[in-house]
């Protein structure tokens, strides 16, 4: 058991952003959230993280209603990597990653050697160990994203929610990051735009259109030429890759 959503609906004013969405993450698996811009992926992730209150429906964590779980108990389980989280404050890389340990301490609780080890490990995993003293303002967009991932790892979560984490990364770091997330033994839900990457790395996919789930299942079952035409408005052919055995999409126009 892990995160699941039952009939989630969330509105801004009169506009329905997330429309009776139900989904279930599989423990230890990577669930990809697909959908065009404005299809409600980011909003759904925030609902799943408990940052927004759904107008109707429930989010459950291990079968327990998320609303009944304390904020910092949620934060010890669920980490969120936002899309454009930035700061004016001139923090160092290490300070940002250290934020991930906040839910594990009482407000005045002390920092221990074990915390340092977790932080060092998280930095190493995203390849930022040698730059931990660098200032945030001096990092590139991709480096900042990796620091955010390290901060999320430092939370030692069992569930990780990621909002388009590969956005600012070069292709090497995109692949590295997706491999990292699919390799570590945590449940992840990841909003992603690159359909070929989704097919390669995700175990399951959920496709959103105008806030509704229009398809869900394995990449092989979900990614069809009809779906690409209907939802993403592209003409494409889908073949099974001879290299990795997953679906591969050739865009025609």
């Amino acid at each position: 058991m892990t995160i699941s959503a039952e009939n989630l609906t969330w509105k801004i004013g009169q506009t329905t952003i997330v429309d009776s969405v139900s989904l279930k993450a599989e423990p230890g698996k990577m669930l990809g959230l697909l959908g065009p811009n404005g299809s409600g992926k980011s909003s759904l992730l925030r609902l799943l993280a408990g940052l927004r209150k759904a107008h109707s429906g429930t989010v459950t964590l291990d079968g327990k209603d998320l609303r009944t779980i304390k904020r910092n108990a949620i934060a010890r389980r669920v980490a969120l990597v936002e899309q454009h989280a930035n700061t004016e404050s001139n923090v160092k890389v290490r300070d940002v990653v250290k934020l991930g340990r906040i839910p594990h301490h009482p407000p005045l609780g002390g920092w221990t050697k074990a915390d340092d080890e977790v932080v060092d490990g998280a930095l190493a995993r995203v390849g930022m160990s040698d730059r931990h003293e660098q200032y945030w303002q001096s990092l590139s967009g991709g480096e900042r994203q990796r620091v955010h991932i390290a901060r999320a790892l430092a939370q030692a979560p069992t569930e990780m929610l990621l909002d388009e984490p590969t956005n600012h990364l070069d292709i090497q770091h995109q692949i590295e990051l997706l491999r990292l997330i699919s390799d570590i033994s945590l449940t992840s839900i990841i909003a992603i735009h690159d359909l070929n990457h989704a097919a390669m790395f995700c175990d399951h996919l959920v496709v959103l259109q105008k806030g509704r789930v229009v398809a869900h299942g394995t990449p092989e079952a979900v990614l069809t030429e009809d779906l690409l035409r209907d939802v993403f408005r592209v003409e494409a052919r889908i073949v099974t890759s001879p290299h990795h055995g997953k679906p591969h999409i050739h865009y025609l126009r």
Binding site: A85, N90, D95, I102, P103
Partner: protein, 346 residues
């Protein structure tokens, strides 16, 4: 360097820095007590203080004794408390609102205090039953509540809170001007200046006790939330996803800043710039972590204000400059240097 060593080194460095600045603060308070219009010998100053503590029993001119103890020392200590409190408020608001321009007056608190004071001074509200300070306090809180309602308890976002604060300042400043220009005479208009530019002229020991209590309580509450404040660096959602009860923390800390500012403003009038400058300077010295930043703000704000008060009393013979004039005149060049150096450091 191992991580443990580095950690220890950081703590030791901060400890040393705070120790040195506390010594500097004591020196500043001593200077504030020793320097003044009436020239009193250094040993007389010293004995006037030790006499009161009961450590010495030396016969002194009662006027000297009174000037040192009742006037200068209490004034220097109130200045220290006010500087510490305003700097603390600035640091908290800048972090909570994620805006480098935020300071206590962004909530319109000083404007509200002025209106409150003027209502009592000129319109005679409460017919003597309410003191001027109480009126200022009520005005300060009224303005704070106005801002809280307008920005939906700060839920509407940092930008809106600042806009609401600007609106509140405009409204209450307009009310103050309206009252003064329609009902006040020239003398009253001069008295109003006190609330607009600040003065430590009227403060004695009771004010110090109140200011000390409020600043100590405020500081402890803020330190309790120091880590939560760190988590706000990347915005509300980031803080919430780290387990911070964002709305509760925000309401509590806004209330603390409003209480601190209202108390200070009702006592000494509105003194600008300290809340803005000191936190930036402190961040430049000890970095953005609030466990280090808040104590640093407390001590450096206190030093800044005590020194500013000395300058305001001594720069012109036979005349005391409004303290707000000094903090701005000293603060702006100081701030420019910091801004310049921090840009170079990037």
């Amino acid at each position: 360097m191992t991580t443990l060593k580095r950690h220890f080194g950081e703590q030791a460095g901060l400890g040393l820095f705070l120790l040195l600045s506390t010594v500097l603060l004591l020196v500043a308070v001593a200077a504030g007590t020793g320097i003044g219009e009436m020239s009193i010998p250094l040993d007389t100053t010293f004995f006037a203080v030790t006499n009161k503590f009961g450590w010495t029993g030396i016969e002194l001119d009662p006027i000297h004794q009174s000037v040192i103890w009742d006037y200068r020392l209490s004034r220097a200590l109130v200045a220290a408390c006010c500087g510490a409190g305003l700097a603390l408020c600035g640091a908290i608001l800048q972090s909570l609102l994620r805006n480098a321009l935020a300071e206590p007056y962004v909530l319109g608190v000083s404007a509200g205090a002025s209106t409150g004071a003027v209502s009592i001074m000129i319109l005679g509200f409460g017919s003597g039953a309410i003191t001027l300070s109480a009126g200022a306090f009520v005005g300060a809180f009224a303005s704070f509540i106005f801002v809280a309602l307008l920005s939906d308890g700060a839920r509407a976002g940092a930008g809106k809170t600042i806009l609401a604060g600007v609106a509140a300042s405009q409204l209450f400043n307009a009310l103050t001007s309206y009252i003064v220009s329609t009902s006040g005479n020239a003398q009253q208009a001069r008295d109003v200046m006190f609330w607009l530019l600040g003065s430590f002229g009227g403060v004695r020991w009771p004010e110090f006790q109140l200011a000390l209590a409020v600043v100590v309580v405020g500081f402890l509450v803020c330190m309790y939330f120091a880590k939560a404040l760190d988590a706000f660096a990347f915005g509300d959602d980031a803080a919430a996803s780290l387990g911070i009860p964002v709305n509760a923390v925000r309401v509590i800390l806004f209330a603390v800043t409003a209480l601190l500012t209202a108390t200070i403003v009702s006592m000494v009038g509105s003194i600008g710039f300290v809340g803005l400058v000191v936190p930036h300077a402190a961040r430049f010295i000890v970095g953005p972590s609030h466990m280090r930043l808040l104590p640093t703000c407390l001590v450096s704000g206190a030093i800044f204000m005590v020194v500013a008060d000395i300058v305001s009393r001594t720069i012109l013979p036979q005349q005391v400059l409004p303290i707000g004039v000094v903090t701005a005149l000293v603060g702006v060049p100081f701030f420019s240097v910091i801004l310049y150096r921090s840009q170079r450091a990037k």
